[in-house]
């Protein structure tokens, strides 16, 4: 075991967790929120690993393996869901989704206009076939 004390690890874990939490609570982009959640998970994992090492018990490491697996599955499902949500409203802003509120409660709207970002036009492929006639360009240089 290196000279680094347990606290050092715990501090890193806590920092990761808090950063993740702050990110989750303050950002509205679903992907960022998801990443923040992952960050919190990693903070927890570090905690677990540190304690595992500290106590010489493999339980924590085993748990971390689970967290990793679950996080992988979660990533797959969460991203798929985010994609679905994006498709239906063309935005990643999570505050657009307030449908599960009680029917009598008004939706919370931000004061600043938060229009859905106009999607970037998809790149167009050049149509195949005979090359169209290009207008002749004269160089003025």
């Amino acid at each position: 075991m290196s000279s680094l004390a347990l606290e050092n690890y715990l501090i890193v874990g806590a920092l990761l967790f808090v950063l993740g939490m702050i990110g989750f609570l303050t950002r509205r982009n679903m992907i960022i929120m998801f990443l923040s959640a992952e960050l919190m998970l990693q903070g927890v994992s570090i905690n677990l690993l540190a304690f595992s090492r500290f106590r010489g018990h493999l339980g924590g490491q085993a748990l971390v393996m689970f967290i990793l697996t679950v996080a992988a599955c979660e990533a797959a499902i969460a991203l798929a869901m985010i994609l679905v949500l994006y498709r239906s409203r063309r935005t990643l802003d999570v505050s657009v989704w307030q449908d599960l509120r009680e029917p009598t409660v008004d939706p919370i709207l931000d004061p600043e206009p938060d229009l859905p970002i106009a999607p970037a036009p998809m790149p167009k492929l050049t149509p195949s076939g005979v090359e169209p006639k290009q207008p002749h360009e004269t160089s003025h240089v």
């Binding site: 609570l25 999570v94 989704w97 599960l100 009680e102 409660v105 919370i108």
Partner: protein, 687 residues
């Protein structure tokens, strides 16, 4: 097996019951027009056994108790299907089954061709079973069961032509009004049960309930028992169902609503004499009810124009007589035994002549194409010769014409009441009752002979329906004739052109209907004179019932009141005056009737409209209760259910407070989670 009544007693109700079951099961498909056979066979067999039972009683088997299975038993309620036989039962049995048999025979012709033929005889047979069970019962619950049973049969038979709205209404009215009385009977039984050490058998009840410390409760019990009798025997104020019950077929009116079922109340009070004689106040109440009913019904009968209704009110009136006698059976005047015997005697004679009159009325109705309004026919004595002379005998017997049966029994009653109207605290009451009875005797003679003269004398007038019965009906004849050809089997040959005069004899009913009339006419002529002055009836009841029954105080009566000559003469004079007046007003000088009517217009209208009692009860009880029902329905809907819904609103109010939290914003939830976690951590740290 016929030596011991125990061996066949149970057969008397059982045979008609079996007959009823057979008709009910096989009647519609197999028996059809033969449905009367099991009924008549059952009735005649029961009659034979009843006569046998009577001879057995005469030969000393006068307190036979037949115990069979337990019907039900739990705790203190122990009901056995037990039967008893004594003179009272024997007399009732013979009367019921004898008249029942003849009426069943009559009905087999009267109801011929009715689509409900089997239904009719099943119900009649069931009625005979219930009625014989009622008089045979040895405990109050079996009595009550049979009591309800005869009520059911009455309901089924009054509503026999149920497609007719008036019949349906009358059936319901009969059932409900008598059931009101039945509640009284039931309460009476409950009280008797509780004061007699939880027993229901007659003997035990009569012995234990008579204990002096229970006198107050006993008085109540007797009042309630009498209330049952008031309902069943159509006494004021519950008499209103009986006239309406005339919607039933005429044989039913004769059997149930004249001869037998309505006398069940008289039987009940007679049976409970050992109790009633202990409470003179209740007896006075019984007597007053009887006298008042007799007078009231007699007054109403004076002006009715429906032949059967006249007879119905007459029945009510005569039943009033019987109760008057029962109520006069004062113990300390040594009158109890005599009074009860007189009442039962009148019951028997009345059964004969009233059944006869109803069957006669049925025969008239049958011939006149179901027309029963006396204003629409007259002078039928040539047209219906046999019906005429039998009806005359019945009328004379009812009017108390000397030497006929009604004369003897009515006189006994008058003598009893007169005997009670002195030397006792209620003497004045009894004296008024006596006067009422005398006046009623005159009125009875008048209205009976009014009906007789209106029907059989005067110019010959036959309504249209009699000729062309099954083509179209008279305007006010609202019989719903989907029961095609109810009993007009012998009119099918009526000429198609209605004006043609058919052969006179054509109207008279067939022999099957006439024989019961003749037999009952002979009965109405002779029963009184054979049994009355010879003391046969009284001795039989006294020796084989009163002396052997438990609790009969002093059955050794001195019959010093017997055949009180002045009273006899007085009542005969009243009766003859009534007959004479009827003859004057309806035969000699028909204008006199109208003059009488005009001279007492007020009374006439009250009488014609039955003293507006139906309307009064409707406005006083039915309407308010129906209103209450409507009100409670509203209360239920708005108040009770509204309260429930209001309680259900309480969680909603709380939920409303917590609602804003559910704003659907993911991050808001996340903040709450974080705060919650923080709170938890702080709580743990600070602990």
């Amino acid at each position: 097996m016929f030596d011991d009544p125990q061996s066949y007693l149970w057969l008397i109700p059982f045979l008609p019951l079996l007959g009823s079951a057979i008709i009910a099961v096989f009647g519609k498909k197999f028996l059809r027009g033969w449905s009367h056979v099991p009924c008549i066979v059952g009735a005649v067999a029961a009659c034979g056994l009843s006569v046998l039972a009577m001879t057995a009683v005469q030969s000393g088997h006068d307190n036979v108790v037949w115990r069979s299975l337990t019907w039900f038993q739990a705790g203190d309620v122990d009901v056995k299907l037990s039967l008893r036989l004594d003179a009272l039962t024997a007399v009732m049995l013979v009367t019921v089954t004898f008249i029942g048999s003849w009426i069943a025979i009559y009905a087999s012709s009267y109801m011929h061709g009715d689509p409900g033929y089997h239904r009719f005889f099943a119900a009649v047979s069931l009625f005979l079973a219930s009625m014989t069970g009622l008089v045979l019962a040895n405990n109050f619950i079996v009595l009550y069961a049979c009591w309800e049973g005869v009520g059911l049969c009455s309901y089924l038979l009054v509503g026999f032509w149920f497609a007719k709205p008036s019949a349906a209404a009358a059936a319901r009215k009969a059932f409900l009004v008598t059931r009101l009385g039945d509640i009284g009977l039931f309460l009476g039984i409950l009280i008797l049960w509780s004061i007699s050490g939880y027993s229901l058998e007659y003997d035990v009840v009569f012995r234990l309930a008579a204990a002096p410390e229970h006198r107050d409760l006993l008085a109540w019990a007797c009042v309630f028992l009498f209330l049952g009798a008031v309902g069943k025997s159509a006494q004021f104020p519950l008499h209103v169902w009986l006239p309406d019950a005339m919607e039933g077929p005429s044989p039913v009116s004769a059997l149930i609503h004249a001869a037998t079922m309505v006398t069940a109340g008289v039987y009940l009070v007679a049976r409970c004499t050992p109790l009633f004689q202990l409470v003179p106040d209740v007896q006075a109440y019984v007597a007053v009810t009887g006298a008042f009913t007799a007078l009231l019904a007699g007054t109403i009968a004076l002006t009715q124009t429906d032949l059967k209704r006249v007879l119905a009110y007459s029945t009510v009136s005569q039943l009033g007589y019987m109760f008057l006698a029962l109520g006069s059976g004062l113990m300390y005047k040594n009158l109890a035994a005599y009074a009860v015997a007189a009442a039962i005697f009148h019951l028997v004679t009345h059964a004969f002549f009233k059944a006869l009159l109803f069957l006669g009325a049925g025969s008239v109705m049958h011939a006149m194409g179901d027309v029963i309004d006396m204003r629409r026919f007259s002078g039928l004595r040539k047209v219906l010769p046999t019906t005429h002379w039998t009806f005359l005998i019945g009328s004379a017997a009812l009017a108390g014409f000397p030497l006929l049966s009604g004369f003897w029994s009515k006189d006994e009653i008058l003598a009893v009441v007169h005997g009670a109207s002195s030397d006792n605290p209620h003497a004045a009451i009894y004296f008024f009752c006596f006067l009422a009875a005398m006046v009623t005797a005159g009125m009875t003679a008048f209205y009976t002979f009014r009906a007789y003269f209106m029907t059989f004398w005067g110019p010959e007038k036959i309504p249209q329906e009699a000729y062309s019965h099954h083509h179209g009906h008279a305007d006010h004849d609202d019989h719903a004739h989907d029961h095609h050809g109810h009993g007009h089997g012998n009119h099918h040959a009526a000429p198609t052109h209605a004006s043609a005069e058919p052969a006179k004899s054509h109207f008279e009913s067939g022999e099957v209907m006439l024989w019961p009339l003749r037999v009952l006419a002979v009965g109405a002529l002779l029963v009184g004179i054979v049994l009355g002055p010879t003391h046969l009836f009284f001795d039989f009841l006294q020796n084989h019932w009163m002396k052997t029954s438990v609790g009969f105080v002093d059955p050794k009566v001195t019959l010093e009141v017997h055949h009180n000559i002045p009273i006899m003469v007085g009542s005969v004079l009243f009766g003859l005056a009534g007959i004479g007046l009827a003859y004057l007003a309806y035969v000699k000088r028909p204008s006199l009737a109208a003059e009488l009517k005009n001279s007492a217009k007020f009374l006439y209208h009250w009488s014609l409209n039955k003293f507006y009692l139906d309307e009064l009860f409707y406005a006083l009880f039915v309407q308010p209760l129906a209103g209450l029902a409507q009100m409670l329905r509203m209360v239920d809907h708005y108040l009770v259910d509204g309260l429930v819904d209001a309680v259900a609103q309480i969680p909603v109010v709380f939920a409303r407070a917590a609602r804003p939290i559910q704003n659907g914003l993911v991050q808001f939830y996340a903040v709450l989670m974080a705060l919650g976690l923080a709170g938890l951590l702080i709580a743990i740290l600070l602990r």
